[in-house]
Point group: C2
Chain length 327, copies 2
């Protein structure tokens, strides 16, 4: 029997809260310790429709189930009145391959685990006193990354930049209903980051949106937009010159993340190995050394996060007796 | 809305019949013509439990949907009274990424499209007068490949060899209920193939089970067991010395198929390009030239076959108004 969970049931099971942080941290720790089987991402690109479907999967040693996740982005969908993101997760029994559950989350669990990874990056890498954040982009992750950041830092000021300024204003109209922060829209990314503690980049940009010269001392950057070869949000000099660079998984960021572009420009030797996020979680002293350090987390999204959150959603659904069993 | 189809409904929609042949042929033709996006297979190996899950996917130009398929083999399952195979297919809208259907087929559609590919290989490569077949292995594909072969050749004699002789007898007990062929169990694969027109190998063997010196003139071999790096059913000399070698997809057979082992032994230059099955279907003259030719089809299983059969099953299910819609 396979438990089919619909998107409403899944949202009912997985709320945005700090319980998710240790769950995703454990996934990164296992990944860093090599206690996982995480093959390269499978991607189907459908250029004609400006669409892509990614499949990620990871088995974490000792766990009785693992996830295979399909996540799609089809960027003409807004013209059709549809969300660009879509997807589902499949939970398989680690011992038998039996399909325990299909989670028809439409990408919700991916959105949540991505935002939680951002919170974890800021928790370990930003200054503990951080209270101001700059956000590049005005989409769903711009919203969820902020929401997630409030779980780990006491945020007071939020600066926003988006290519389409009206979207930045719409974003603030929306988010300000929930949070009593001081919001500012900026005309350029140089002003955007001038006095902030944290920068979060959330776009699918193919050209750098922020220069190294714009960065104030002590800033932490979470770059989570780039998850494909051609995507690039940060000036590659930032990767070379920052004090601490942390990939979620270096095998992936070398190909899909910001690191990819720094390697292509030969700013960094090909064989340089960085401490990944899991290693920083295990030993936080490997992260920020002092208040002036510039730190960067390069997040491409990993299968272990999917396995962790799919298992979490499934357990809650079982307890709540949600879903339909199908043979 | 996503249409959920259970395994009973899917079996009700997709019966073993000759309608499936042109559907799978079209998939191979598109693949051969480069009218597809078919990324490398994603595989999760769980050595501890002797299990593996493969994900295949392919978009075929011009089609309004494409499949992502998860297929698992967990080889300790028989001890638990479970089938070793498992899986599902997901059908996505090519324009939007919306998930149109989840087909909980437990591997049935993979079994069928694999067997149909075998029939297609024999249709184009074996002697038209072929009436005797040797089968190595006694599992589900040993049965389905025979069933499928009867769609394209008038079979009268069936020779069987399996590592466990009792399984070969059990196989014959089972299959002879359906077919009035002359069946023989053999003690070794040399005798097995002595006077046959077609050989089908269906095992997950890691060592060659048949030597080149054993092959009679004019035999066609469909090798469909090897679909992973370490699997190997044919003496690599067969690949080098046969008259016509046909991969389902050379990118895959170079890594996962019989060709892999011939390349590793340096029996064949790395840059040699073969006509694939799609090319043979488009132009059958590229296949067998005369009755004495030895031909080999190396089938690793391709994502385009999955897309073709998932679309077929879905269309029939819609017409029959089967399945449950889930949001």
């Amino acid at each position: 029997m396979t438990l089919i969970l619909d998107s409403t049931e899944i949202k009912n099971c997985v709320k945005f809260n700090e319980d998710l942080i240790p769950i995703i941290e454990d996934a990164f720790k296992s990944l860093s310790l090599g206690k996982t089987v995480m093959p390269p991402i499978l991607r189907v690109d459908i250029e004609k429709y400006h669409g892509e479907s990614d499949v990620k999967a990871a088995y974490i040693e000792g766990l009785d189930s693992f996830a295979v996740k399909v996540a799609s982005g089809f960027f003409n969908n807004s013209k059709l009145g549809l969300p660009s993101s879509n997807g589902l997760m499949i939970l398989l029994d680690s011992k038998t391959g039996v399909i325990k559950s299909v989670l028809l989350d439409k990408g919700y669990l991916t959105d949540v685990r991505t935002a939680i990874a951002g919170a974890i990056a800021s928790k370990y890498l930003s200054k503990p006193t951080s209270s101001s954040v700059a956000i590049i982009g005005a989409g769903i992750q711009a919203e969820l990354q902020l929401e997630s950041l409030t779980l780990v830092r006491d945020i007071k000021n939020v600066n926003v930049w988006a290519r389409d300024k009206s979207k930045a204003h719409a974003y603030i109209d929306n988010v300000s209903k929930k949070y009593n922060f001081k919001f500012n829209v900026h005309d350029n990314t140089e002003d955007l980051v001038k006095e902030v503690d944290i920068l979060i980049t959330t776009t699918p940009s193919k050209k750098p949106l922020i220069e190294y010269s714009s960065l104030p001392k002590g800033i932490h950057i979470t770059a989570m937009g780039s998850d494909a070869e051609q995507k690039n949000e940060l000036d590659p000099n930032i990767i070379q010159k920052c004090d601490v660079y942390v990939p979620d998984n270096q095998n992936q960021t070398m190909i899909l993340g910001e690191l990819n572009h720094a390697l292509k420009k030969k700013l960094i030797p090909n064989d340089k190995i960085y401490n990944d996020l899991g290693k920083i979680i295990i030993n936080p002293e490997l992260g920020r050394k002092n208040n002036d350090d510039i730190t960067v987390a390069d997040l491409t999204g990993t299968g272990v996060q999917d396995t962790a959150i799919a298992r979490y959603a499934y357990e809650i659904a079982l307890n709540k007796k949600l879903g339909k069993n199908v043979d």
